[in-house]
Amino acid sequence: MTFIINGEEQDVAATTLAALLDVLEYEGEWLATAVNGELVHREDRAAFTLGERDRIEILSPMQGG
């Protein structure tokens, strides 16, 4: 399916958010995810089914003021 991942269009063979993170080799307790503007909790990623052109944000900690 085609998704918009962190602002970039990408084709990924995944139907759940957890699978998508796995395919793209995202891992770590420090990641936060949102789909179409809504937070998806860590524990809900495996059950979260993705749809065509879903907008997925994957954030991690960085320096800030």
Partner: protein, 257 residues
Amino acid sequence: MLSLYGTDVSSRLLLGTARYPSPAVLAEAVRTSQTEIVTVSLRREMAGGKAGGAFFEMIRGFGVQVLPNTAGCHSVSEAVLTAKMAREVFATDWIKLEVIGHHDTLQPDVFALVEAARILASEGFRVFPYTTDDLIVAERLLDAGCAVLMPWCAPIGSAMGPVNMAALRSMRANFPDVPLIVDAGIGRPSHAAAVMELGFDAVLLNTAVASALDPAAMAGAFASAIEAGRDACLAGILQPRDMAVPSTPIIGKAVFQ
């Protein structure tokens, strides 16, 4: 002790973690500042990227309270979602709420700020709003559920120092029981001392420390200035007057003619 949402802190210096020349210098600055609260942010992670993880582990190693921010957000929905994602990552209800309204001055959009604060407070967040020195906005933020206010004293990173001391003084007088933290615009330790002398509760610094020639030394200098300003405020500061007052007593002075 300063109490922020029920958490007592000894240090009245909050330190940002951005713009240091290296992680090692940041770590040293955190140590010399003696801060107990550091601000952090969230950004898009690259696929397979480990940058966020390394920073996350370093921050955890500091053993201090983390205050995530919503820097870069320009709308209520962006700020609220970023706050929720920050809570997921950092496991804290604390959020430094920024909703930027102007690209050049980074002035907060205070209307969106109040709305975002209301939503976040209702969802259990402990909101630290980055605001202006406007009294009415401050009142609205308190009504929205904020129990701490963080007014700027000048634009972020400008190093101008307090450009409107009268407004800051008025803010202190109007909200005597609300923790007030000056966030943004401080350039040098004397600026920090000046706002602490006014009775502000703490100062949040980043660029002034991170961009110094020696950030660790500057962090220590700020810590001393903030403590001095606080002590001076408590000691009772002499108010200025127009005419001279002799410091040496006149009584008993010899008369030679």
